[in-house]
C-alpha cells in the first residue's frame, strides 16, 4: 500500500512553494533524507527531503506547479511493508565505471546452471603486514575441482612461502595468475564455479543470459568491449591508500628526494603538504640522524642511478626475490636508525667442546647438540643477568621495554636468502629440546616452509658463521631487538698456564648492540659473563 508524502513546512511564513525540479520518478528508491524536489519559496530555493523510505509509486507534482503545505508530493511503497523490498538501486544498476562488460555482468546473474554460482576467489590476507605476494607455483588449472582447503597456489611473502587455500567448493573456470606474478590482497586468483548447497540460485533471473560466453545470443556484447558508459574519472593511488594531500609539484619533489609523503606532516590548511614541508622534513632528517661516516644518504635520498655496467664488461641480471628485498629494506633501516657498536671477545670452549663431542658421540639417538644450541642456553643465562640486553627501545616515548620472555632468533642461511626463525621460551627448555627444535626449524627454513609466525617475536638473535670460517664480524641488530650475537669459527691458541704452554680452543664472539639501549660497559660485562659461562659451563645447568 503506497503512503503519501506531503509537503512539510519549508520555512517560517512560507505557505506555498513553486516546484523547480522533481528529482525522483516512479520506481526510484528513496530514503529518509533523499532530496525529492527543489522548490522556490519567494526568494530562495529549498530542497525538499523525503520523510519516508521505500520505492516511489507515483509523482504527483511537476516543475512549475504551485503547491501548498500539506499537499501530497509523491506516494511511496514503504520498505518493510508488504511490497517486496527493493535492493539498494545504485550498486546493482551501475557497473563500476572501469569494469569491462564481462566483469560487470559476471558476479551477479550467474550464467551457470542452478545450484551453482561463479565466484572470483581473491587473495585473502596471508599474514599480518603482508600486502603482496609473489606466486611461486600455481597448483590448479581450468576444469579442476577444488574444495575448501585445496591449495590454489604457493606464494612467497616477504620471508616465507605460504600455501593459499581455496575457501570454496567447485570447479575452476579461470586462472588469473601465473608463476612469477606479484599479486596484492584482494586480487583475483581464480574463478570458481561454486556449488551452492541446498537453495535455489540467488541470482535474479533478469537480463544477461550468457554474457560471458561470446558465441550464442547475438544480443550479448562481446566480452572485450569496454563500456563507453562514461569515461572513468578517478585514478586510484598505487596501494589503495588515500592520496597524500600534496600537489603534483610537491609530489614530484618528494619522489626526487626519496621522501615518503605519508611521513611528512603538512603545515597548510587541513594538513596539506607544501614544498616547504618536504624541504623541512629532509632538513630535519639530515640534522637529527646520528653523525655517521659523513655519508649524505640517510635513507631519505633515493639511491643514485646505476651506470651502464655493460660498458665495462659483460654483466648478467638476477631478480631479487622477496626474501632478499625484505632483508635489504630491514637491514638498511636497522643500519640507519640504530647506533651500532660491536663488542668482541674470545670464549675458551676447550672443555665445553670436548664435552659436547663426547655427548654427541655417546648419544647418537638423541638430538644432536650443536654449539648454537648451547649458545642459546648460555645467552639466556646472560640475559637474565643483564635484562637491558633483552629489551626494545621506544625512542618516541622515551621508554625501554624489558622482556620477561626469552625468545631467541637464529639466523639461517638458505639458498633463498637469510631467514631468522625463532625458538620460543628458551629459558623453559633444556638444551636437548632447544637442539631438537633448532634442527626442525633449520629444515623448515631450507624447504621454505616457515610460517610468518615462526619468525616473529624474537627478543635476541644469534648468527653463527662458525661453520664457514672467519674470525670476527659485525652483525647488524635486528630491530626491534637491541642486540645480536655473532659466532665465528673456534680456533686453537697457545696459552700460558702456570708457566706451561697449553692449547686452548677459543670461540670468537661479536656482539653488536644498540648503544641507545645498552651502554658500553654493560655490553662488555654481558659478553664477559657469556664467555665465562661457556668456559665454566656448569653455570649453564
Amino acid at each position: 500500500m503506497a503512503t503519501e508524502f506531503k509537503l512539510p513546512e519549508v520555512a517560517e511564513g512560507v505557505e506555498s512553494v513553486d516546484v523547480v525540479e522533481v528529482l525522483v520518478s516512479p520506481g526510484d528508491t528513496v530514503e529518509q533524507g533523499t532530496i525529492i524536489l527543489e522548490a522556490e519559496t519567494g526568494k530562495s530555493v529549498a530542497e525538499i527531503e523525503c520523510g519516508l523510505a521505500g520505492t516511489v509509486a507515483e509523482v504527483l507534482v511537476s516543475p512549475g506547479d504551485s503547491i501548498g503545505i500539506g499537499a501530497t508530493l509523491i506516494t511511496v511503497n514503504e520498505s518493510g511493508s508488504s511490497t517486496p523490498a527493493v535492493p539498494p538501486a545504485e550498486p546493482a544498476a551501475e557497473p563500476e565505471p572501469a569494469a569491462a562488460v564481462e566483469e560487470a555482468a559476471a558476479p551477479e546473474p550467474a550464467p551457470a546452471p542452478a545450484g551453482s554460482e561463479t565466484i572470483d576467489f581473491t587473495l585473502p590476507e596471508v599474514a599480518e603486514g603482508v600486502e603482496q605476494i609473489d606466486v611461486v607455483e600455481v597448483h590448479v588449472s581450468v576444469g579442476d575441482s577444488v574444495s575448501v582447503g585445496t591449495v590454489i597456489c604457493e606464494a612467497e611473502t616477504g620471508k616465507s612461502v605460504a600455501e593459499i587455500e581455496s575457501q570454496h567448493d567447485g570447479t575452476i573456470t579461470a586462472v588469473h595468475i601465473a608463476a612469477g606474478d606479484s599479486v596484492s590482497i584482494g586480487s583475483k586468483l581464480v574463478t570458481i564455479d561454486a556449488q551452492v548447497s541446498g537453495s535455489a540460485p540467488a541470482a535474479p533471473a533478469a537480463a544477461a543470459p550468457s554474457q560471458a560466453t561470446p558465441s550464442p545470443a547475438p544480443a550479448a556484447k562481446p566480452a572485450a568491449t569496454s563500456k563507453p558508459a562514461a569515461p572513468n574519472a578517478s585514478a586510484t593511488s598505487a596501494d589503495g591508500r588515500a592520496p597524500a594531500p600534496a600537489g603534483p609539484a610537491t609530489r614530484r619533489l618528494a619522489r626526487k628526494l626519496g621522501v615518503d609523503l605519508y611521513q611528512v606532516s603538512g603545515s597548510a590548511r587541513g594538513g596539506r603538504i607544501t614544498i616547504e614541508d618536504v624541504e623541512a622534513y629532509v632538513h630535519g632528517r639530515m640534522t637529527s640522524a646520528a653523525p655517521s661516516g659523513g655519508g649524505m644518504s640517510l635513507g631519505i635520498a633515493a639511491p643514485q642511478p646505476l651506470p651502464d655496467f655493460s660498458k665495462f664488461g659483460p654483466v648478467e641480471e638476477e631478480k631479487l626475490n622477496k626474501v632478499y628485498q625484505a632483508a635489504a629494506a630491514n637491514l638498511s633501516t636497522a643500519w640507519i636508525t640504530i647506533p651500532h657498536v660491536t663488542q668482541h671477545n674470545l670464549a675458551d670452549i676447550t672443555e665445553l667442546e670436548a664435552a659436547r663431542k663426547r655427548y654427541v658421540k655417546d648419544n647418537s639417538d638423541k638430538p644432536k647438540i650443536t654449539m648454537t644450541a648451547i649458545m642459546i642456553k648460555a645467552v639466556v643465562g646472560a640475559l637474565r643477568t643483564f635484562p637491558r640486553v633483552n629489551s626494545s627501545i621506544d625512542v618516541e616515548s622515551g621508554r625501554l621495554i624489558l622482556k620477561k620472555y626469552y625468545n631467541i632468533g637464529v639466523a639461517v642461511d638458505t639458498p633463498n636468502g637469510l631467514v631468522v626463525p625463532v625458538i620460543r621460551n628458551c629459558d623453559q627448555k633444556n638444551v636437548l629440546q632447544v637442539a631438537a627444535e633448532l634442527t626442525e626449524l633449520a629444515i623448515k627454513a631450507r624447504d621454505r616452509k616457515l610460517k610468518p609466525e615462526d619468525m616473529q617475536g624474537a627478543s635476541f638473535t644469534i648468527t653463527n658463521l662458525g661453520g664457514i670460517g672467519g674470525t670476527y664480524f659485525t652483525p647488524i641488530v635486528n630491530p626491534p631487538e637491541v642486540a645480536i650475537l655473532g659466532m665465528s669459527r673456534g680456533q686453537k691458541e697457545l696459552h700460558l698456564e702456570d708457566g706451561k704452554v697449553v692449547e686452548r680452543l677459543m670461540l670468537p664472539l661479536s656482539m653488536s648492540y644498540d648503544h641507545r639501549a645498552i651502554n658500553g660497559a654493560d655490553a662488555a660485562r654481558f659478553i664477559v659473563k657469556l664467555s665465562g659461562s661457556l668456559t665454566n659451563f656448569f653455570e649453564l645447568f
Binding site: 530555493v45 563500476e96 587541513g270 596539506r272
Partner: protein
Amino acid sequence: MKHAQLVVLGGGPGGYPAAFAAADHGMNVVLVDEGKQPGGVCLNRGCIPSKALLHVAKLINESRESAEWGVTFQPPEIDIDKLRDFKNGVVGNLCGGIEGLCKQRGVELIKARGTFVDSTTLELRSADGQTSQLTFDHCIVAIGSIPTMPGFFDIGDDRVMDSTGALELKDVPSRLLVVGGGYIGLEMGSVYAALGSEVTVVEMSAGILPGADRDLVNPLKKVLTEHFSAIHTNTKVAGLKATDEGIVASLEGDGVDPEMTFDRVLISIGRRPNSANCGLENTSVELDERGFIKIDRNQRTADPKLLAIGDIAGEPMLAHKATREAKIAVETLLGEPAEFDNIAIPAVVFTDPELAWCGITENEAKAQGIEYQAVRFPWAASGRAQTLARTEGVTKLIVEPRHQRVLGVGIVGPGAGEMIAEAVIAVEMGATARDLADSIHAHPTLSETVMEAAESVIGQPTHFYRRKRG
C-alpha cells in the same frame, strides 16, 4: 637502414605530444602515423569534429528556446555540405598545425603503418604500398583504440555506422537508432537530434551513462528525453536487418516495440585497444585480457625498449590522459622523477547540459568504504544560471569529513566541461572546502556554484538555505 633514438608510433593526442616533448629535450625523434594527417582519433574522428558539430547543435537548440524570451527565429535551414565543410575545416586546421609543429621542432613525420618486427625494428608500409624498415633505441607505443563493432551488427550496410561514420555526416536520417547510451552515443545523438533526426537511444543497462553519478545524470536525462524521441534502458538490440525501408532492429526490453525501422543506426557500445595486427607479439610486451598493453607507473612495458601511452595503455581511454602519459614516458626516458600519480582525471560528456567530474564519485566512495560527505548546490540558486535560463545544473562536492578535503567534484550544467578545471586543481592539490569557499569567484559566473557548494560543506551557502535536521 634508418635509425632513430626514439620512435613514437601513433600521432594522436598521446603520440604527438610525446614526440614534441622528446624533441624539445634534444632527442632524435621520428613520429610514425598511418593517417592522411596526424592527430589520431581525437582530431580526425573523435573529440574535435564532434565538438564542432555539438557547437552547431547547441546554437540550433538555443535559437528555438529563445522564443520563450521573446526572440523568435525562423526555423534553421541546414546546408549539410557546408556544415560538413566547417567541421572538416576545423580538423584540417588542427592537423595541419601538428604537421607544422613537427617541422618546427625537427620531428620527422613518416606517414606509414608501423608493424613491429622485433623490439627495436618497425616495418613501415606507406599508403602506396612501399615498405621499409626503421630501427630505434626506444619506441613509445601510442596506437590508440578503435570502435567496437561486433560481428552481428556488422551487416555490411553503410547505414549501420560507428562513430567515425556518424561524424562523416553523409545525411540527416529522419530516424536514427543509437545503440549504446554512453557518452559517444549521447553526443552524436544530440547532434543528429538538433539537425532534425528522430533519435532513439537503446541502452542495455539500467540507465544512460552507466558509472556516472545519478545526481548528475538525472538533469541531463530530462533534457535528452525532450530532444530524443525515446531512450530505452534495460533494452537490447537482438539483431539488425537491412531492408529497402531501412534498417530493421529487433529490440528486447520492457515496453519496447520488438521491431522498429530506422534510416541509420549508430553503434556506440564502446572502444577497444588497437593492439591487433601491429606485431606486438614480436616484442616482449605483455597484454592484459582485454588487449591493453600492461604498463607500470612510468609507462614502461614488459619490453625494456618499449613504453606505452594513451588508449592502448588502458582505461580511461581519454585524450587528456594520453597527453599526460606522453610527458611521463618522455621524462622516464630522460631519468626524471615523473610518475603517473594523478588523482583526478577529468571526465566530460559534451551533451547539453554538459556533465563533468573528477576525483572520486559518491558511488566509488561508498564502494570503497571511504568516509565522505556529499553536498549538492542546485544551480537554481545561481544568478548566472538564472540569466541563462538554465537552472537544471547541479554542482556536487565529495569531501573527506575530517579535514574537509575535496576528494571529488561532479558538475552538470552548461559549461561544466570548462568548470571542471578548477575542481581538478582542487583535488590534485589536496585543497579543502575552505580553500574553495575562501577563494574569490567572479560574479556573476557559474563558477560561484563551486564556491557555494564548498560553503555548504562548512556551513550555509549564501544563496541557498538548507534546513537543519532534527
